[in-house]
Symmetry: C2
Subunit: 308 residues, 2 copies
Protein backbone atom coordinates (compact mmCIF):
# COMPACT_ATOMS: atom_id res chain seq x y z
CA UNK A 1 0.00 0.00 0.00
CA UNK A 2 1.36 3.34 -1.08
CA UNK A 3 1.20 6.17 1.42
CA UNK A 4 0.33 8.73 -1.23
CA UNK A 5 -1.96 9.19 -4.19
CA UNK A 6 -2.01 11.63 -7.10
CA UNK A 7 -5.41 13.02 -7.95
CA UNK A 8 -6.92 15.11 -10.74
CA UNK A 9 -10.00 17.28 -10.17
CA UNK A 10 -11.56 19.06 -13.18
CA UNK A 11 -12.54 22.67 -13.51
CA UNK A 12 -16.29 23.20 -13.52
CA UNK A 13 -18.73 25.70 -14.93
CA UNK A 14 -21.39 26.50 -12.33
CA UNK A 15 -24.44 28.81 -12.36
CA UNK A 16 -24.97 27.53 -15.91
CA UNK A 17 -27.28 30.17 -17.41
CA UNK A 18 -30.53 30.01 -15.40
CA UNK A 19 -29.00 27.36 -13.12
CA UNK A 20 -27.84 29.73 -10.36
CA UNK A 21 -26.66 27.48 -7.49
CA UNK A 22 -28.37 24.54 -9.22
CA UNK A 23 -26.57 23.55 -12.40
CA UNK A 24 -22.93 22.85 -13.21
CA UNK A 25 -20.76 20.70 -15.43
CA UNK A 26 -17.19 19.43 -15.55
CA UNK A 27 -14.75 20.17 -18.34
CA UNK A 28 -11.70 18.13 -19.34
CA UNK A 29 -9.10 20.78 -18.66
CA UNK A 30 -7.79 22.70 -16.85
CA UNK A 31 -7.91 21.02 -13.45
CA UNK A 32 -6.12 20.64 -10.14
CA UNK A 33 -3.38 18.08 -9.70
CA UNK A 34 -2.80 17.24 -6.06
CA UNK A 35 -0.72 14.64 -4.27
CA UNK A 36 -2.30 13.53 -1.02
CA UNK A 37 0.19 11.87 1.32
CA UNK A 38 -0.17 10.31 4.73
CA UNK A 39 2.00 12.06 7.30
CA UNK A 40 2.92 10.99 10.79
CA UNK A 41 2.25 14.15 12.73
CA UNK A 42 -1.60 14.05 12.82
CA UNK A 43 -1.86 17.42 11.10
CA UNK A 44 -3.37 18.55 7.81
CA UNK A 45 -0.68 20.42 5.90
CA UNK A 46 -0.85 22.36 2.62
CA UNK A 47 2.32 22.26 0.53
CA UNK A 48 1.84 24.67 -2.32
CA UNK A 49 4.07 24.02 -5.35
CA UNK A 50 2.08 26.28 -7.64
CA UNK A 51 2.53 29.97 -8.39
CA UNK A 52 -0.86 30.90 -6.95
CA UNK A 53 -1.10 32.02 -3.34
CA UNK A 54 -3.41 29.75 -1.34
CA UNK A 55 -4.18 29.85 2.41
CA UNK A 56 -1.90 27.48 4.31
CA UNK A 57 -3.80 27.67 7.60
CA UNK A 58 -5.80 24.38 7.66
CA UNK A 59 -8.81 26.22 9.01
CA UNK A 60 -8.79 28.61 6.08
CA UNK A 61 -8.03 26.27 3.20
CA UNK A 62 -11.01 24.65 1.48
CA UNK A 63 -9.18 21.33 1.00
CA UNK A 64 -8.23 20.88 4.64
CA UNK A 65 -11.62 22.07 5.87
CA UNK A 66 -13.31 19.47 3.65
CA UNK A 67 -10.96 16.74 4.86
CA UNK A 68 -11.45 17.73 8.51
CA UNK A 69 -15.14 17.23 7.98
CA UNK A 70 -14.51 13.78 6.48
CA UNK A 71 -12.16 12.69 9.29
CA UNK A 72 -14.60 13.88 11.92
CA UNK A 73 -17.40 11.89 10.27
CA UNK A 74 -15.42 8.63 10.11
CA UNK A 75 -13.81 9.22 13.52
CA UNK A 76 -10.24 8.74 12.33
CA UNK A 77 -7.25 10.76 13.51
CA UNK A 78 -4.68 10.81 10.74
CA UNK A 79 -2.43 13.49 9.30
CA UNK A 80 -2.17 14.21 5.57
CA UNK A 81 -0.07 16.45 3.35
CA UNK A 82 -1.78 18.06 0.38
CA UNK A 83 0.85 18.82 -2.22
CA UNK A 84 -0.57 21.21 -4.81
CA UNK A 85 1.17 20.45 -8.11
CA UNK A 86 -1.00 22.37 -10.49
CA UNK A 87 -3.93 24.64 -9.77
CA UNK A 88 -6.84 26.26 -11.57
CA UNK A 89 -6.44 30.04 -11.20
CA UNK A 90 -8.26 30.99 -7.97
CA UNK A 91 -11.05 33.57 -8.20
CA UNK A 92 -11.62 33.13 -11.90
CA UNK A 93 -15.02 31.46 -11.66
CA UNK A 94 -14.30 27.96 -12.93
CA UNK A 95 -14.35 26.08 -9.68
CA UNK A 96 -10.83 26.42 -8.32
CA UNK A 97 -11.90 25.94 -4.71
CA UNK A 98 -14.27 23.11 -5.62
CA UNK A 99 -11.46 21.28 -7.41
CA UNK A 100 -9.24 21.62 -4.31
CA UNK A 101 -11.96 20.29 -2.02
CA UNK A 102 -12.83 17.45 -4.39
CA UNK A 103 -9.21 16.43 -4.96
CA UNK A 104 -8.47 16.42 -1.24
CA UNK A 105 -11.46 14.34 -0.14
CA UNK A 106 -11.06 11.86 -3.00
CA UNK A 107 -7.32 11.48 -2.26
CA UNK A 108 -7.89 10.94 1.44
CA UNK A 109 -10.75 8.53 0.73
CA UNK A 110 -8.54 6.41 -1.52
CA UNK A 111 -5.82 6.32 1.14
CA UNK A 112 -8.48 5.25 3.67
CA UNK A 113 -9.56 2.36 1.37
CA UNK A 114 -12.74 4.04 0.14
CA UNK A 115 -14.19 4.43 3.59
CA UNK A 116 -16.87 6.79 2.19
CA UNK A 117 -19.02 6.82 -0.93
CA UNK A 118 -19.14 9.77 -3.31
CA UNK A 119 -22.40 11.14 -1.88
CA UNK A 120 -20.68 11.41 1.48
CA UNK A 121 -17.59 12.94 -0.13
CA UNK A 122 -19.86 15.53 -1.67
CA UNK A 123 -21.19 16.61 1.71
CA UNK A 124 -17.62 17.08 3.00
CA UNK A 125 -16.51 18.96 -0.11
CA UNK A 126 -19.50 21.27 0.30
CA UNK A 127 -18.06 22.25 3.70
CA UNK A 128 -14.98 23.46 1.84
CA UNK A 129 -17.10 25.44 -0.60
CA UNK A 130 -18.95 27.07 2.26
CA UNK A 131 -15.65 28.53 3.41
CA UNK A 132 -14.92 30.04 0.01
CA UNK A 133 -18.36 31.40 -0.86
CA UNK A 134 -20.00 31.90 2.54
CA UNK A 135 -22.97 29.81 1.45
CA UNK A 136 -23.82 26.20 0.77
CA UNK A 137 -23.66 25.58 -2.93
CA UNK A 138 -22.86 22.38 -4.75
CA UNK A 139 -22.95 23.25 -8.42
CA UNK A 140 -19.15 23.25 -8.63
CA UNK A 141 -18.26 20.44 -6.20
CA UNK A 142 -20.89 18.00 -7.44
CA UNK A 143 -19.77 18.03 -11.10
CA UNK A 144 -16.11 18.23 -9.95
CA UNK A 145 -16.64 14.98 -8.03
CA UNK A 146 -19.01 13.09 -10.32
CA UNK A 147 -18.24 14.58 -13.75
CA UNK A 148 -20.89 15.38 -16.34
CA UNK A 149 -23.75 17.83 -16.06
CA UNK A 150 -25.28 17.91 -12.58
CA UNK A 151 -28.55 19.42 -11.37
CA UNK A 152 -29.06 20.04 -7.68
CA UNK A 153 -32.81 19.53 -7.31
CA UNK A 154 -32.73 20.30 -3.61
CA UNK A 155 -30.28 21.29 -0.90
CA UNK A 156 -32.42 20.08 1.99
CA UNK A 157 -32.33 17.15 1.61
CA UNK A 158 -29.42 17.21 -0.84
CA UNK A 159 -30.63 15.69 -4.13
CA UNK A 160 -28.12 15.47 -6.96
CA UNK A 161 -29.37 14.59 -10.45
CA UNK A 162 -27.02 13.66 -13.33
CA UNK A 163 -28.40 15.37 -16.43
CA UNK A 164 -28.35 13.64 -19.82
CA UNK A 165 -26.57 15.85 -22.38
CA UNK A 166 -25.68 15.60 -26.08
CA UNK A 167 -22.59 13.57 -26.97
CA UNK A 168 -21.26 16.40 -29.05
CA UNK A 169 -21.25 19.42 -26.76
CA UNK A 170 -18.27 21.74 -26.42
CA UNK A 171 -17.57 24.32 -23.79
CA UNK A 172 -15.44 27.35 -24.52
CA UNK A 173 -14.35 29.34 -21.52
CA UNK A 174 -12.31 32.51 -21.28
CA UNK A 175 -10.57 33.50 -18.07
CA UNK A 176 -9.80 37.20 -18.14
CA UNK A 177 -7.28 38.25 -15.52
CA UNK A 178 -9.60 40.19 -13.22
CA UNK A 179 -10.26 38.82 -9.75
CA UNK A 180 -13.78 38.66 -8.29
CA UNK A 181 -14.24 37.11 -4.86
CA UNK A 182 -17.28 34.81 -4.70
CA UNK A 183 -17.81 35.92 -1.12
CA UNK A 184 -18.19 39.60 -2.07
CA UNK A 185 -20.06 38.84 -5.27
CA UNK A 186 -22.87 37.01 -3.44
CA UNK A 187 -23.74 39.98 -1.26
CA UNK A 188 -24.90 41.94 -4.30
CA UNK A 189 -27.56 39.42 -5.33
CA UNK A 190 -31.09 40.62 -4.39
CA UNK A 191 -32.82 38.77 -1.55
CA UNK A 192 -36.27 38.82 -3.17
CA UNK A 193 -37.54 38.58 -6.72
CA UNK A 194 -40.86 39.45 -8.38
CA UNK A 195 -42.91 36.41 -9.41
CA UNK A 196 -42.50 37.35 -13.08
CA UNK A 197 -38.72 37.11 -12.77
CA UNK A 198 -39.05 33.81 -10.94
CA UNK A 199 -41.14 32.38 -13.77
CA UNK A 200 -38.58 33.51 -16.36
CA UNK A 201 -35.86 31.64 -14.47
CA UNK A 202 -38.06 28.56 -14.01
CA UNK A 203 -39.00 28.55 -17.70
CA UNK A 204 -35.40 28.79 -18.78
CA UNK A 205 -33.95 26.17 -16.46
CA UNK A 206 -36.73 23.74 -17.38
CA UNK A 207 -36.14 24.41 -21.07
CA UNK A 208 -32.37 24.07 -20.68
CA UNK A 209 -32.82 20.60 -19.18
CA UNK A 210 -35.26 19.67 -21.97
CA UNK A 211 -32.75 20.91 -24.56
CA UNK A 212 -29.87 18.98 -22.99
CA UNK A 213 -31.92 15.80 -22.59
CA UNK A 214 -33.16 15.78 -26.17
CA UNK A 215 -30.10 17.29 -27.90
CA UNK A 216 -32.18 20.28 -29.00
CA UNK A 217 -29.25 22.63 -29.56
CA UNK A 218 -31.33 25.66 -30.49
CA UNK A 219 -33.33 25.30 -27.30
CA UNK A 220 -30.17 25.01 -25.20
CA UNK A 221 -29.07 28.30 -26.71
CA UNK A 222 -32.39 30.08 -26.13
CA UNK A 223 -32.53 28.94 -22.50
CA UNK A 224 -29.15 30.21 -21.29
CA UNK A 225 -30.20 33.57 -19.84
CA UNK A 226 -30.11 34.25 -16.13
CA UNK A 227 -32.10 36.82 -14.18
CA UNK A 228 -30.50 36.31 -10.76
CA UNK A 229 -26.75 36.81 -10.98
CA UNK A 230 -25.97 37.78 -14.56
CA UNK A 231 -27.29 41.38 -14.35
CA UNK A 232 -25.16 42.01 -11.24
CA UNK A 233 -21.98 40.19 -12.16
CA UNK A 234 -21.87 41.35 -15.76
CA UNK A 235 -20.95 44.80 -14.41
CA UNK A 236 -17.56 43.51 -13.27
CA UNK A 237 -16.64 42.03 -16.66
CA UNK A 238 -15.52 44.69 -19.14
CA UNK A 239 -17.31 44.29 -22.48
CA UNK A 240 -19.45 41.37 -21.26
CA UNK A 241 -22.70 42.21 -23.04
CA UNK A 242 -20.93 43.13 -26.25
CA UNK A 243 -19.15 39.76 -26.21
CA UNK A 244 -22.39 37.94 -25.34
CA UNK A 245 -24.26 39.60 -28.19
CA UNK A 246 -21.69 38.30 -30.68
CA UNK A 247 -21.57 34.71 -29.43
CA UNK A 248 -24.34 33.29 -31.60
CA UNK A 249 -23.26 34.83 -34.87
CA UNK A 250 -19.83 33.30 -34.16
CA UNK A 251 -21.04 29.74 -33.80
CA UNK A 252 -22.06 29.48 -30.14
CA UNK A 253 -25.41 28.14 -28.99
CA UNK A 254 -25.27 30.76 -26.28
CA UNK A 255 -23.23 31.61 -23.24
CA UNK A 256 -23.13 33.28 -19.87
CA UNK A 257 -20.91 34.06 -16.91
CA UNK A 258 -19.16 31.06 -15.40
CA UNK A 259 -19.66 30.80 -11.65
CA UNK A 260 -19.40 34.24 -10.14
CA UNK A 261 -17.16 35.37 -12.99
CA UNK A 262 -15.09 36.89 -14.40
CA UNK A 263 -14.77 33.81 -16.64
CA UNK A 264 -17.31 33.63 -19.45
CA UNK A 265 -18.39 30.34 -21.00
CA UNK A 266 -20.19 29.44 -24.19
CA UNK A 267 -21.53 26.17 -25.55
CA UNK A 268 -21.13 24.92 -29.12
CA UNK A 269 -22.32 21.79 -30.86
CA UNK A 270 -19.10 21.03 -32.78
CA UNK A 271 -15.37 21.69 -32.63
CA UNK A 272 -15.31 24.02 -35.66
CA UNK A 273 -17.83 26.34 -33.99
CA UNK A 274 -15.96 26.07 -30.68
CA UNK A 275 -12.79 27.28 -32.43
CA UNK A 276 -14.58 30.32 -33.83
CA UNK A 277 -16.00 31.17 -30.42
CA UNK A 278 -12.58 30.80 -28.79
CA UNK A 279 -11.12 33.25 -31.27
CA UNK A 280 -13.93 35.74 -30.62
CA UNK A 281 -13.44 35.50 -26.85
CA UNK A 282 -9.69 35.95 -27.06
CA UNK A 283 -10.03 39.04 -29.24
CA UNK A 284 -12.72 40.53 -26.99
CA UNK A 285 -10.30 40.75 -24.07
CA UNK A 286 -7.07 41.24 -26.08
CA UNK A 287 -8.68 44.35 -27.59
CA UNK A 288 -9.16 45.72 -24.08
CA UNK A 289 -5.58 44.83 -23.10
CA UNK A 290 -6.87 42.33 -20.55
CA UNK A 291 -4.71 39.24 -20.27
CA UNK A 292 -6.76 36.09 -20.76
CA UNK A 293 -6.68 32.36 -21.30
CA UNK A 294 -9.18 30.46 -23.42
CA UNK A 295 -9.97 26.75 -23.07
CA UNK A 296 -11.95 24.52 -25.41
CA UNK A 297 -13.17 21.26 -23.95
CA UNK A 298 -15.84 18.62 -24.22
CA UNK A 299 -18.17 18.33 -21.29
CA UNK A 300 -16.26 15.72 -19.28
CA UNK A 301 -18.09 12.69 -17.96
CA UNK A 302 -15.18 12.02 -15.61
CA UNK A 303 -15.01 13.55 -12.19
CA UNK A 304 -12.20 13.62 -9.65
CA UNK A 305 -9.94 10.57 -9.95
CA UNK A 306 -6.54 9.05 -9.29
CA UNK A 307 -4.03 9.63 -12.09
CA UNK A 308 -0.67 8.07 -13.08
Amino acid sequence: MENYVKVFAPATISNVGPGFDLLGFAIEAPGDIMIVRINSNDSLRIINNTNYPVPEDPEKNVATVAVSSLLKYVGIKQGFDFILQSKIAPGSGIGSSAASSAAAVVGVNILLNNICNYEQLLSFAIEGEKLSSGSIHADNVAPALFGGFILIRSYDPLDIIPVRYPESLFCIVVQPEIEIKTLDSRKLIPKEFPIKTMLQQCGNIAALIAGLNTSDYALIGRALDDVIAEPIRAQSIPGYYELKSKLRENGALGGNISGSGPSVFALASCKADADKVASLMRKAFDNQNIKNRVHISNISNQGTRMID
Copy 2:
Protein backbone atom coordinates in the same frame (compact mmCIF):
# COMPACT_ATOMS: atom_id res chain seq x y z
CA MET B 1 -68.08 21.84 -48.08
CA GLU B 2 -69.98 21.42 -44.82
CA ASN B 3 -70.96 24.56 -43.00
CA TYR B 4 -70.29 23.02 -39.60
CA VAL B 5 -67.68 20.95 -37.79
CA LYS B 6 -67.73 18.95 -34.56
CA VAL B 7 -64.66 19.39 -32.40
CA PHE B 8 -63.24 17.73 -29.27
CA ALA B 9 -60.93 19.64 -26.91
CA PRO B 10 -59.35 17.71 -24.01
CA ALA B 11 -59.24 18.65 -20.35
CA THR B 12 -55.80 19.72 -19.20
CA ILE B 13 -53.84 19.72 -15.98
CA SER B 14 -51.96 23.01 -15.62
CA ASN B 15 -49.62 24.37 -12.94
CA VAL B 16 -48.16 20.86 -12.87
CA GLY B 17 -46.34 20.77 -9.51
CA PRO B 18 -43.57 23.39 -9.74
CA GLY B 19 -44.78 24.39 -13.22
CA PHE B 20 -46.96 27.33 -12.13
CA ASP B 21 -48.06 29.06 -15.36
CA LEU B 22 -45.39 27.06 -17.21
CA LEU B 23 -46.29 23.40 -17.42
CA GLY B 24 -49.45 21.56 -18.43
CA PHE B 25 -50.60 18.35 -20.10
CA ALA B 26 -53.66 17.01 -21.88
CA ILE B 27 -55.66 14.03 -20.72
CA GLU B 28 -57.89 11.76 -22.82
CA ALA B 29 -61.14 12.50 -21.04
CA PRO B 30 -63.17 14.42 -20.08
CA GLY B 31 -63.26 17.12 -22.72
CA ASP B 32 -65.47 19.65 -24.48
CA ILE B 33 -67.52 18.67 -27.49
CA MET B 34 -68.53 21.68 -29.55
CA ILE B 35 -70.19 22.10 -32.91
CA VAL B 36 -68.98 25.20 -34.74
CA ARG B 37 -71.38 26.30 -37.47
CA ILE B 38 -71.26 29.13 -39.99
CA ASN B 39 -74.21 31.48 -39.58
CA SER B 40 -75.45 34.18 -41.87
CA ASN B 41 -75.92 37.05 -39.44
CA ASP B 42 -72.25 38.04 -38.90
CA SER B 43 -72.50 37.44 -35.15
CA LEU B 44 -70.76 35.07 -32.77
CA ARG B 45 -73.43 33.15 -30.88
CA ILE B 46 -73.16 30.70 -27.99
CA ILE B 47 -75.79 27.95 -27.96
CA ASN B 48 -75.42 26.09 -24.70
CA ASN B 49 -76.85 22.56 -24.74
CA THR B 50 -75.10 21.54 -21.51
CA ASN B 51 -76.30 21.76 -17.92
CA TYR B 52 -73.56 24.18 -16.93
CA PRO B 53 -74.23 27.91 -17.02
CA VAL B 54 -71.83 29.71 -19.38
CA PRO B 55 -71.80 33.41 -20.35
CA GLU B 56 -73.73 33.95 -23.60
CA ASP B 57 -72.55 37.52 -24.17
CA PRO B 58 -69.86 37.17 -26.88
CA GLU B 59 -67.65 39.67 -25.07
CA LYS B 60 -67.74 37.58 -21.90
CA ASN B 61 -67.40 34.08 -23.26
CA VAL B 62 -63.84 32.77 -23.70
CA ALA B 63 -64.71 30.94 -26.92
CA THR B 64 -66.15 33.96 -28.70
CA VAL B 65 -63.42 36.27 -27.39
CA ALA B 66 -60.77 33.90 -28.79
CA VAL B 67 -62.57 33.67 -32.13
CA SER B 68 -63.01 37.47 -32.33
CA SER B 69 -59.26 37.75 -31.97
CA LEU B 70 -58.76 35.24 -34.80
CA LEU B 71 -61.23 36.96 -37.12
CA LYS B 72 -59.66 40.34 -36.45
CA TYR B 73 -56.20 38.94 -37.26
CA VAL B 74 -57.26 37.40 -40.57
CA GLY B 75 -59.53 40.32 -41.44
CA ILE B 76 -62.63 38.22 -42.13
CA LYS B 77 -66.16 39.13 -41.17
CA GLN B 78 -68.15 35.95 -40.66
CA GLY B 79 -70.68 34.81 -38.09
CA PHE B 80 -70.46 31.48 -36.27
CA ASP B 81 -72.61 29.53 -33.85
CA PHE B 82 -70.84 27.64 -31.08
CA ILE B 83 -73.07 24.80 -29.99
CA LEU B 84 -71.82 23.40 -26.69
CA GLN B 85 -72.73 19.70 -26.63
CA SER B 86 -70.70 18.57 -23.68
CA LYS B 87 -68.59 20.58 -21.29
CA ILE B 88 -65.89 20.07 -18.67
CA ALA B 89 -67.28 21.35 -15.36
CA PRO B 90 -66.35 25.08 -15.21
CA GLY B 91 -64.28 26.26 -12.26
CA SER B 92 -62.97 22.83 -11.36
CA GLY B 93 -59.36 23.44 -12.39
CA ILE B 94 -58.97 21.11 -15.34
CA GLY B 95 -59.03 23.62 -18.14
CA SER B 96 -62.71 24.10 -18.87
CA SER B 97 -62.22 27.59 -20.31
CA ALA B 98 -59.10 26.54 -22.23
CA ALA B 99 -61.02 23.69 -23.84
CA SER B 100 -63.77 26.10 -24.91
CA SER B 101 -61.25 28.53 -26.42
CA ALA B 102 -59.32 25.75 -28.13
CA ALA B 103 -62.41 24.04 -29.53
CA ALA B 104 -63.79 27.32 -30.88
CA VAL B 105 -60.62 28.49 -32.65
CA VAL B 106 -59.88 25.04 -34.08
CA GLY B 107 -63.47 24.70 -35.32
CA VAL B 108 -63.46 28.14 -36.94
CA ASN B 109 -60.02 27.50 -38.44
CA ILE B 110 -61.22 24.28 -40.08
CA LEU B 111 -64.26 26.06 -41.51
CA LEU B 112 -61.92 28.76 -42.85
CA ASN B 113 -59.77 26.09 -44.60
CA ASN B 114 -56.92 26.19 -42.06
CA ILE B 115 -56.27 29.86 -42.55
CA CYS B 116 -54.02 29.87 -39.45
CA ASN B 117 -51.43 27.52 -38.02
CA TYR B 118 -51.61 26.14 -34.47
CA GLU B 119 -49.10 28.67 -33.09
CA GLN B 120 -51.41 31.44 -34.25
CA LEU B 121 -54.45 29.63 -32.85
CA LEU B 122 -52.63 29.46 -29.54
CA SER B 123 -52.21 33.22 -29.40
CA PHE B 124 -55.98 33.68 -30.02
CA ALA B 125 -56.94 31.04 -27.45
CA ILE B 126 -54.72 32.82 -24.92
CA GLU B 127 -56.93 35.89 -25.37
CA GLY B 128 -59.84 33.75 -24.20
CA GLU B 129 -57.86 32.55 -21.18
CA LYS B 130 -57.02 36.12 -20.29
CA LEU B 131 -60.71 36.79 -19.89
CA SER B 132 -61.19 33.87 -17.51
CA SER B 133 -58.08 34.28 -15.36
CA GLY B 134 -57.24 37.97 -15.69
CA SER B 135 -53.71 37.12 -16.74
CA ILE B 136 -51.88 35.69 -19.73
CA HIS B 137 -51.21 32.04 -19.14
CA ALA B 138 -50.90 29.25 -21.66
CA ASP B 139 -50.38 26.11 -19.62
CA ASN B 140 -53.96 24.98 -20.25
CA VAL B 141 -54.55 26.24 -23.80
CA ALA B 142 -51.21 25.06 -25.20
CA PRO B 143 -51.65 21.38 -24.17
CA ALA B 144 -55.38 21.60 -25.01
CA LEU B 145 -54.43 22.61 -28.56
CA PHE B 146 -51.29 20.54 -29.14
CA GLY B 147 -51.78 17.58 -26.78
CA GLY B 148 -49.00 16.04 -24.72
CA PHE B 149 -46.92 17.70 -22.03
CA ILE B 150 -46.11 21.33 -22.82
CA LEU B 151 -43.57 23.68 -21.23
CA ILE B 152 -43.91 27.41 -21.77
CA ARG B 153 -40.28 28.53 -21.70
CA SER B 154 -41.17 32.16 -22.20
CA TYR B 155 -44.25 34.35 -22.60
CA ASP B 156 -42.44 37.21 -24.29
CA PRO B 157 -41.73 36.01 -26.90
CA LEU B 158 -44.07 33.05 -26.55
CA ASP B 159 -41.95 29.87 -26.69
CA ILE B 160 -43.79 26.56 -26.41
CA ILE B 161 -41.77 23.38 -25.87
CA PRO B 162 -43.27 19.89 -26.22
CA VAL B 163 -41.82 17.82 -23.36
CA ARG B 164 -40.85 14.17 -23.88
CA TYR B 165 -42.63 11.98 -21.30
CA PRO B 166 -42.74 8.26 -20.48
CA GLU B 167 -45.01 6.10 -22.63
CA SER B 168 -46.60 4.63 -19.55
CA LEU B 169 -47.78 7.60 -17.51
CA PHE B 170 -51.25 7.82 -16.00
CA CYS B 171 -53.03 10.81 -14.57
CA ILE B 172 -55.66 10.44 -11.90
CA VAL B 173 -57.72 13.53 -11.24
CA VAL B 174 -60.48 14.13 -8.74
CA GLN B 175 -62.96 16.98 -9.19
CA PRO B 176 -64.59 17.74 -5.86
CA GLU B 177 -67.72 19.85 -6.18
CA ILE B 178 -66.39 23.09 -4.72
CA GLU B 179 -66.06 26.08 -7.03
CA ILE B 180 -62.91 28.27 -7.02
CA LYS B 181 -62.68 31.12 -9.50
CA THR B 182 -59.25 31.38 -11.15
CA LEU B 183 -59.67 35.15 -11.22
CA ASP B 184 -60.05 35.38 -7.41
CA SER B 185 -57.52 32.67 -6.73
CA ARG B 186 -54.72 34.56 -8.51
CA LYS B 187 -55.03 37.61 -6.30
CA LEU B 188 -53.84 35.63 -3.29
CA ILE B 189 -50.50 34.63 -4.83
CA PRO B 190 -47.62 36.72 -3.38
CA LYS B 191 -46.02 39.27 -5.72
CA GLU B 192 -42.46 38.62 -4.53
CA PHE B 193 -40.55 35.57 -3.37
CA PRO B 194 -37.31 35.08 -1.43
CA ILE B 195 -34.43 33.80 -3.55
CA LYS B 196 -34.40 30.54 -1.56
CA THR B 197 -37.99 29.83 -2.55
CA MET B 198 -37.19 30.69 -6.15
CA LEU B 199 -34.34 28.18 -6.18
CA GLN B 200 -36.59 25.47 -4.75
CA GLN B 201 -39.06 26.02 -7.56
CA CYS B 202 -36.29 26.13 -10.19
CA GLY B 203 -34.73 22.93 -8.83
CA ASN B 204 -38.04 21.11 -8.90
CA ILE B 205 -39.19 22.18 -12.35
CA ALA B 206 -35.77 21.32 -13.80
CA ALA B 207 -35.84 17.93 -12.08
CA LEU B 208 -39.41 17.28 -13.20
CA ILE B 209 -38.40 17.82 -16.83
CA ALA B 210 -35.36 15.57 -16.35
CA GLY B 211 -37.57 12.89 -14.79
CA LEU B 212 -40.13 13.11 -17.61
CA ASN B 213 -37.47 13.09 -20.33
CA THR B 214 -35.64 10.06 -18.95
CA SER B 215 -38.63 8.12 -17.51
CA ASP B 216 -37.19 8.46 -14.03
CA TYR B 217 -40.47 7.87 -12.18
CA ALA B 218 -39.05 8.37 -8.70
CA LEU B 219 -37.62 11.73 -9.73
CA ILE B 220 -40.94 12.82 -11.24
CA GLY B 221 -42.53 12.05 -7.87
CA ARG B 222 -39.90 13.92 -5.83
CA ALA B 223 -40.13 16.99 -8.05
CA LEU B 224 -43.89 17.64 -7.87
CA ASP B 225 -43.97 20.18 -5.03
CA ASP B 226 -44.87 23.80 -5.63
CA VAL B 227 -43.97 26.82 -3.53
CA ILE B 228 -45.98 29.45 -5.41
CA ALA B 229 -49.63 28.47 -5.54
CA GLU B 230 -49.98 25.21 -3.60
CA PRO B 231 -49.64 26.75 -0.11
CA ILE B 232 -52.38 29.29 -0.92
CA ARG B 233 -54.77 27.13 -2.88
CA ALA B 234 -54.53 24.09 -0.63
CA GLN B 235 -56.49 26.07 1.96
CA SER B 236 -59.62 25.94 -0.22
CA ILE B 237 -59.53 22.15 -0.64
CA PRO B 238 -60.80 20.31 2.44
CA GLY B 239 -58.38 17.56 3.48
CA TYR B 240 -55.85 18.39 0.74
CA TYR B 241 -52.64 17.77 2.67
CA GLU B 242 -53.98 14.62 4.26
CA LEU B 243 -54.84 13.27 0.81
CA LYS B 244 -51.50 14.36 -0.58
CA SER B 245 -49.59 12.65 2.21
CA LYS B 246 -51.28 9.33 1.38
CA LEU B 247 -50.75 9.47 -2.39
CA ARG B 248 -47.37 7.74 -2.51
CA GLU B 249 -48.19 4.86 -0.20
CA ASN B 250 -51.20 4.26 -2.44
CA GLY B 251 -49.25 3.91 -5.67
CA ALA B 252 -48.88 7.47 -6.91
CA LEU B 253 -45.55 8.99 -7.95
CA GLY B 254 -46.82 12.22 -6.41
CA GLY B 255 -49.52 14.76 -6.99
CA ASN B 256 -50.62 18.33 -6.55
CA ILE B 257 -53.45 20.74 -7.19
CA SER B 258 -54.66 20.88 -10.78
CA GLY B 259 -54.77 24.40 -12.16
CA SER B 260 -56.13 26.72 -9.51
CA GLY B 261 -58.05 23.81 -7.95
CA PRO B 262 -60.13 22.42 -6.44
CA SER B 263 -59.29 19.40 -8.61
CA VAL B 264 -56.32 17.37 -7.40
CA PHE B 265 -54.23 15.27 -9.77
CA ALA B 266 -51.71 12.52 -9.24
CA LEU B 267 -49.39 10.68 -11.60
CA ALA B 268 -48.81 6.93 -11.66
CA SER B 269 -46.59 4.72 -13.77
CA CYS B 270 -49.14 1.94 -14.42
CA LYS B 271 -52.89 1.33 -14.52
CA ALA B 272 -52.96 -0.83 -11.37
CA ASP B 273 -51.44 1.98 -9.33
CA ALA B 274 -53.74 4.52 -10.98
CA ASP B 275 -56.74 2.45 -9.87
CA LYS B 276 -55.53 2.44 -6.27
CA VAL B 277 -55.00 6.19 -6.33
CA ALA B 278 -58.47 6.76 -7.81
CA SER B 279 -60.02 4.78 -4.99
CA LEU B 280 -58.06 6.77 -2.39
CA MET B 281 -59.15 10.08 -3.95
CA ARG B 282 -62.79 9.08 -4.14
CA LYS B 283 -62.84 8.02 -0.48
CA ALA B 284 -61.04 11.18 0.64
CA PHE B 285 -63.93 13.35 -0.53
CA ASP B 286 -66.75 10.84 0.01
CA ASN B 287 -65.71 10.71 3.67
CA GLN B 288 -66.21 14.46 3.87
CA ASN B 289 -69.57 14.22 2.09
CA ILE B 290 -68.21 16.22 -0.81
CA LYS B 291 -69.56 15.07 -4.19
CA ASN B 292 -66.74 14.25 -6.57
CA ARG B 293 -65.82 12.69 -9.87
CA VAL B 294 -62.59 10.80 -10.50
CA HIS B 295 -61.00 10.28 -13.91
CA ILE B 296 -58.13 7.99 -14.87
CA SER B 297 -56.43 8.74 -18.16
CA ASN B 298 -53.19 8.39 -20.04
CA ILE B 299 -51.43 11.61 -20.86
CA SER B 300 -52.95 12.28 -24.26
CA ASN B 301 -50.72 13.10 -27.19
CA GLN B 302 -53.74 14.40 -29.09
CA GLY B 303 -54.89 17.95 -28.83
CA THR B 304 -58.03 19.63 -30.08
CA ARG B 305 -59.39 17.95 -33.19
CA MET B 306 -62.36 17.33 -35.44
CA ILE B 307 -64.42 14.27 -34.46
CA ASP B 308 -67.07 12.11 -36.21
